[in-house]
Amino acid sequence: MDSILQIVEATKSFGGLVANSGITFDVPRHSIVGIVGPNGAGKTTLFNSLSGVHPLTSGKVIFDGTDITRAKAYDICAMGMGRTFQIPQSLNEMTVWENVLVACLCKHKMGQARERADQVLEEMGLYDFRDAPAGTLNVVQKKRLEIARAVATDPKLLLLDETMAGLTGIERKEASQLIRQLNQKGITILMIEHVMEIVMNVSDKVVVLNGGKLLMEGTPEEVSVDEEVISAYLGGTTW
């Protein structure tokens, strides 16, 4: 199958701490892939390496046929990989519209970007907060803005880092609908998620990390019955 992202033997260490070690998996184009794993499994570290926040210690990342292992975050974004942060990193002093506009400017000229920003806000249900400073939004709205900003860069691949955490049941349903919609528009989605019911419902493929290593990958059905996965989640040693 055609894959948009290939991760080969990805290893990241901070001094003596090995956060990711030898992780290898593919993300098929137009799919939704979920990454699960207990706290400290190295999920966000992997995201940071993929999106260029910090480079891998060793290993390779190939995005849409190009090696981006050492590329800078802004170049990776321009190539079509958008991401959200687990802790929303909105530009608090700027308005919601300006937050999205800045992201739109990645691919559009000023005039078009203005229109596109309004369009994205509309799609994401944030239009009512258009002129509010981003710092005044609540957590749920900030998470939406986080996705809006990533979507505004017109990504081919979208990395979502725990966008569901802290949401209520209804909000989760809305959010998973949103993810499906984005996927139907042709955006490949790689998401970190703790909420198992969402991951199992939405994903085409699930990757389980534990203790910085790839525990297994497979369809949601395969993963949910795997004994190692169950023990990782329900307790037991992680190394």
Partner: protein, 336 residues
């Protein structure tokens, strides 16, 4: 163009009113001291506008921009003194040299953030002062005198009356304000604000943060250099003590911060208020040495404490609206 004016009606209204006031100032203000202060305010305005790009918009607080002020002033002085060159030409040379030096220094400096950037820029300006002091080619501690009695004032920019020079400065400041206004709502302006708000987030939105910080730094260095190039023919004398004292860089930063950081009109308002306070405090308290600085300091502290968003925030629409609402509520309460 018409569209832009329509969208920013308040701005252009204020712009035209300020220009109109500017046109009549030389006719109304008779005191030489006041005129001198106004001219200095305009020069400080240019510096404030320049510093605002790196410090205000991009949020990289530089405390070393006196360096570019000095480069601009020295270039004009030396070119006039040694090569008979008009400031009209040498100001461009000064800006080019400033841009080059800003590029070279910016490479390492802009990797630093926050307080580290501030301290490093300060150190660079201090180094420059020592270099200017000890380079005979640059006049050393005595500096360069270049009073020009040969060429016409329009060639040397050394006008016998202050009003002509005032008009010249008014035009330059007016043009720079238009530039700042244009950049304020451009891709460049939004990118700089995004960098100030959150650099990691800005990068993940596709902003090449090192590149845009560098562009902002070079632009601000060039504008501050221009201010130096205009100040030099005004006083016809440059030396390291007046151009590069430790507090010069802080003052450049202060006019923008006091006026309203990251706003178009803020630095100009700040420049006028700060220059007037500073010059008049010096004149009024001249009999007690140092008292002027004390008064100046106290006023600065009060502005920072009570108008933390800068003097311009007093005029902002939101604030005015709030006050109007409060007043309305009060009047309604009174009726009840």
């Amino acid at each position: 163009m018409r569209d832009a004016i329509k969208k920013n009606r308040t701005f252009f209204l204020g712009y035209v009113i300020c220009l109109a006031i500017g046109l009549v100032i030389p006719g109304v203000v008779t005191s030489t001291f006041a005129m001198n202060t106004i001219v200095l305010s305009l020069i400080w305005s240019i510096m404030g506008i320049g510093w605002n790009f790196i410090g205000g918009y991009a949020g990289q607080i530089s405390n070393g921009h006196a360096l570019y002020y000095a480069i601009g002033a020295y270039t004009v002085a030396i070119c006039a003194d040694s090569f008979d060159l008009s400031p009209w030409l040498s100001m461009w040379l000064g800006m080019a040299i400033s841009a080059l030096i800003a590029f070279l220094l910016g490479k390492p400096l802009l990797r630093l953030g926050g307080a580290y950037f501030l301290i490093a820029t300060m150190a660079v300006a201090e180094c420059a002062r020592v270099i200017f002091l000890n380079m005979p080619a640059l006049g050393g501690a005595t500096g360069v005198m270049f009073l020009d009695k040969v060429h016409s004032p329009w060639y040397s920019l050394q006008f016998p009356d202050k009003s002509t020079f005032f008009y010249l400065l008014l035009v330059i400041v007016a043009l720079l304000v238009l530039l700042a206004k244009y950049l304020d709502k451009s891709k460049f302006g939004y990118y700089l604000r995004a960098i100030k708000a959150n650099e990691v987030s800005a990068q993940s939105a596709g902003i090449n943060t090192p590149k845009y910080k560098m562009l902002a730094y070079i632009l601000s260095a060039m504008i501050v250099s221009l201010a130096g190039s205009l100040y030099a023919p005004f006083v016809t004398y440059v030396d390291p003590y007046t151009l590069l004292p430790l507090d010069k860089s802080t003052m450049i930063c202060l006019v923008a911060v006091m006026g309203g950081i990251g706003t178009v009109a803020g630095p100009i308002l700040g420049a006028f208020v700060m220059t007037f306070i500073s010059e008049y405090a010096r004149a009024i308290f001249s009999s007690y040495s140092g008292l002027n600085m004390l008064v100046y300091g106290i006023i600065v502290i009060f502005i920072v404490l009570y108008i933390p968003n800068g003097l311009i925030s007093v005029f902002s629409k939101a604030k005015l609206g709030q006050r109007l609402k409060k007043a309305l509520a009060r009047s309604k309460g009174g009726v009840r």
